[in-house]
Amino acid sequence: MGCMATAESYVLAIGTKKGLWLARSTDRKEWSLSGPHFLMSEIPSIGIDTRGDSPRILVGVRSEHWGPTVAHSDDLGATWTEPEQGAIKFPEGTDAALERIWQIYPDSASRPGVVWAGCEPISVWKSTDGGEHFELNRGLWDHPHRSEWGAGYGGAAAHSIVVNPSGENVHVAMSTGGVYRSLDGGASWEARNKGISAYFMPDPNPEFGQCVHKIAADAAVEGRLYAQNHHGVYRTDDNGENWISIADGLPADFGFVMLTHPRREGTAWVVPIKADGERIPPDGRLAVHRTDDAGGSWKRLDVGLPDHEYNAVLRDAAAVDSAEPAGVYFGTRGGSVYASADEGESFIEVASHLPDVLCVRAAVVPGVASGDAADDAAVQSAVESAALSEAESAAFAAASTVPA
């Protein structure tokens, strides 16, 4: 069988509780899986930066023993590099230590090299060198509300960062604290949660304190964002000044995921979970729901998904790619990963029985992925070389680049 060369292929990065897996495909139907990388470390965040000459995969890594760090690969996972002094480090005087990197967000193509990170303890960071070194956002860190922000079940973190095309408007969501907005590129911040419920607080409509699980920006309408809340699905059309419910038509208003289309106005995806107290898909039937009218109506999408599923999908365990039609990907806490090449109309299972899936990201990357025997052997070799021992994993990036 000959090589089915294409100018582009797809990479799907799967961060789990016990390491990173990478999947490659030429058609988003057949996937080759390699891994684990960073065995026994959790990978709660991934960013695939496709703005440069070659794609860079950035991962937030956290070992229970050895702490958190950021590593990156410029060769799609063949080798990994970790900055010697650490990419994210709280400055002296803050009396804080990095616990976990929850979000890695490459900025727009017009701002090459800019990468944002959201972390635990609640903090936002910005890199201008492609994610090798980040600076703490002091405006948010020094915000007078900070002492009143709380911790969700997973920890107190800034987990969503959305930057508008001009770079002036930055929205951050944190659990718990809610949505904060900057109109000056991140210099100063104001809580923007009007309309978002915090039913678990004495005042269910506070200025801040909401447990917003995820926010995402509309692809085309400036100032329009969507939010999946700790009960409640919302939209704002005025840059966060007011949020309105768009939960009608969904089987449940609880969940963690909020995805938006890479180009098309009004299209977003959620993965409903039954309730705070019952964190399983409604009726044990896993489904993605998509709106094409900004939340006016929702379509259930479950073709190719299992009949029964009792695992939740976490906030960053879902992603879209930039292809046409857009690909939709998600993984469960039961270690299954699903991919759709048609915007969610149908799914295939990419992987199963992995550790809990914490994060997935997908991208279109240049280069040939192929299907002949020699390449199959190469893939197998990659699988073997990527299956690091725990010792190698801890040492995954010593002073210089090391083979993974």
Partner: protein, 95 residues
């Protein structure tokens, strides 16, 4: 001059150039904190695996001096005598 030896677990040895032990000369007693500063000075990634940026020992990293885990002694202020051996061992954690 006497030395103090720090024994690394195998999992961390690649971060110290493959060495299983790191040594530093010592005239007299030094604290665990200054000992770690001395032996990890050339290995910043190893240093970050052991302590966070506030200088605190990571929760599941145990350091033994004279057979006692330093948290039961004086923590990083525990003194290590010249000639003594210090063990770094990861605790049982995870699932």
């Amino acid at each position: 001059m006497a030395e103090i030896t720090v024994v690394l677990p195998s999992v961390l040895q690649p971060l110290a150039g493959g060495q299983s032990c790191l040594t530093t000369p010592a005239d007299g007693a030094v604290t665990v904190e200054s000992l770690l500063d001395a032996v990890t000075g050339d290995y910043p990634v190893l240093a970050r695996r052991l302590r966070d940026e506030t200088g605190s020992l990571r929760r599941f990293v145990n350091i033994y001096v004279g057979g006692e885990e330093v948290r039961r002694l004086k923590g990083l202020e525990t003194e290590v005598a010249a000639g003594q051996e210090v063990l770094i061992i990861q605790s049982v954690a995870g699932g």
